[in-house]
């Protein structure tokens, strides 16, 4: 039977234009990698957005797998700008194989 270990999965919804800032924060904390998924529309307290790629005001979802400590550190480094930059951060525990990589 295969052995899995527990790591944190963190997903940050972020403006296209601010994506680099989030991935830079991930790099700084020392997490090994990240992956960006496209997002097509949404609604929040600021209202609805959609079809905004031409205007460059669309969003991305940045996903990263990290150890508990790194995840905690990342959350802390992003916390100050969550509200001002309109980020949406969720995290939860996941099982991974080859845990030494994260």
């Amino acid at each position: 039977m295969i052995e899995t270990v527990i790591r944190k999965r963190i997903e940050v919804l972020v403006d296209q234009a601010q994506t680099k800032r989030v991935t830079a924060a991930i790099d700084e904390v020392g997490i090994t990698g990240w992956t960006v998924l496209p997002v097509s529309s949404g609604k929040g307290r600021d209202g609805r957005w959609r079809e905004e790629r031409v205007m460059g005001t669309d969003k991305n979802l940045v996903v990263t797998i990290a150890s508990q400590e790194n995840a905690q550190q990342l959350a802390e480094s992003l916390a100050p700008i969550l509200t001002s930059h309109g980020l949406l951060l969720t995290m939860w525990d996941v099982e991974v194989i080859r845990g030494e990589r994260f």
Partner: protein, 327 residues
């Protein structure tokens, strides 16, 4: 409206925009894929840059061109100032949102420019090719001005001045417009011949589809809007009227021909909805796109395309005494 004005409004370019507005108002699910819409916007910028460069390669540069460039840049710095004052006072916006909106109105809209050129050509008043360069240089000054106003001279929301200047000078629209302009200038008319079917002949057709999409997006955003007040709507219509008149008069004063003066007016009247929103998202994430994008895209843009370009053209013709040549 005279027959030339009517002819402008019945050009396919304007009609496709109206179709987009109507389809969205009727809640149709018509939608242009975003990747394709983005590609069209890049195509339009490359084509307009190229053509401007080629015309300059043919006509050369002279003092009038320099005057037009200087006028455009100056307007780009000054317009945000009174817009900011108006938006904070009459419009009741906070400093950050007022600065962001001011940046949009001080900058320019490439598609409004292109539509105006179409219409002025139909009316027999084609502007000079160097107005493309004027347009390109007018994109950035207002971004700078707006950001400085929004931050009140403060250190700014986490972005260094260096990053800021980089964004102002190397944002995608500026690079593509000026880059294509340079290519057109270097390659000249002979180099252009080979790519004319793509960048020249196809241009108006692509513009139709792009305006269809902009009509859809503008009307949908309008209907979804929560942040618009009547005060902001009034500004989104009043500012282009005032800026258009000032810009046109400025153009006449510095000696531009009817079409070019009218185009300077349109540039001043237009509000950016491609380059500046992207820049604000980067440099001023606290500002609300529900305000700046809805004002520039959903109110000012249709107002300019459907009404204000016609008014500006007539005003320029009046000032220069050069009436539209009725075909």
């Amino acid at each position: 409206m005279d027959s030339v004005g009517l002819q402008a409004l019945t050009s396919p370019v304007v009609l496709f925009f109206v179709l987009g507005l109507l389809a969205a108002l009727a809640k149709s699910d018509l939608e242009i894929p975003e990747a394709f819409a983005k590609a069209m916007s890049l195509y339009l910028m490359a084509a307009i840059g190229l053509k401007g460069g080629i015309e300059v390669a043919e006509s050369g540069l002279d003092a009038t061109v320099l005057a037009a460039l200087a006028a455009g840049i100056t307007a780009g710095f000054i317009m945000p100032l009174y817009a900011f004052w108006l938006l904070k006072g009459f419009g009741k916006l906070d400093r950050i949102n007022a600065g962001a909106v001011a940046a949009h109105y001080g900058s320019i809209s490439v598609v409004t420019f292109v539509t105006a050129v179409e219409i002025f050509e139909i009316q027999g008043n084609p502007p000079q090719g160097y107005m493309v360069a004027v347009m390109a240089t007018m994109e950035s000054p207002a971004i700078l001005a707006g950001l400085l106003l929004a931050r009140g001279g403060g250190s700014g929301g986490g972005q260094s001045t260096k990053e800021l200047l980089h964004e102002v000078l190397f944002n995608a629209s500026v690079v593509l417009l000026l880059g294509a302009f340079a290519i057109g200038w270097i390659a000249g008319p002979s180099g252009f011949a080979d790519v004319e079917p793509f960048f020249g002949a196809m241009f108006k057709g692509v513009l139709c589809l792009f305006l269809l999409d902009m009509g859809l997006i503008a009307a949908r955003r309008m209907m979804d809007s929560r942040s618009l007040t009547w005060r902001l709507v009034a500004i989104a219509i009043g500012l282009p009227l005032v800026n258009g008149a000032i810009g046109t008069a400025l153009g006449v004063v510095i000696g531009l021909d009817t079409g070019s003066a009218a185009v300077l007016g349109v540039l001043c009247a237009s509000a950016s909805y491609i380059a500046v929103p992207a820049a604000m998202r980067l440099a001023l994430p606290e500002a609300d796109p529900g305000i700046y994008l809805t004002m520039s895209l959903s109110i000012t843009f249709p107002f300019n395309v459907l009404i204000n370009i016609g008014l500006i053209g007539a005003f320029a013709a009046m000032l220069t005494g050069g009436g539209a040549a009725v075909p």
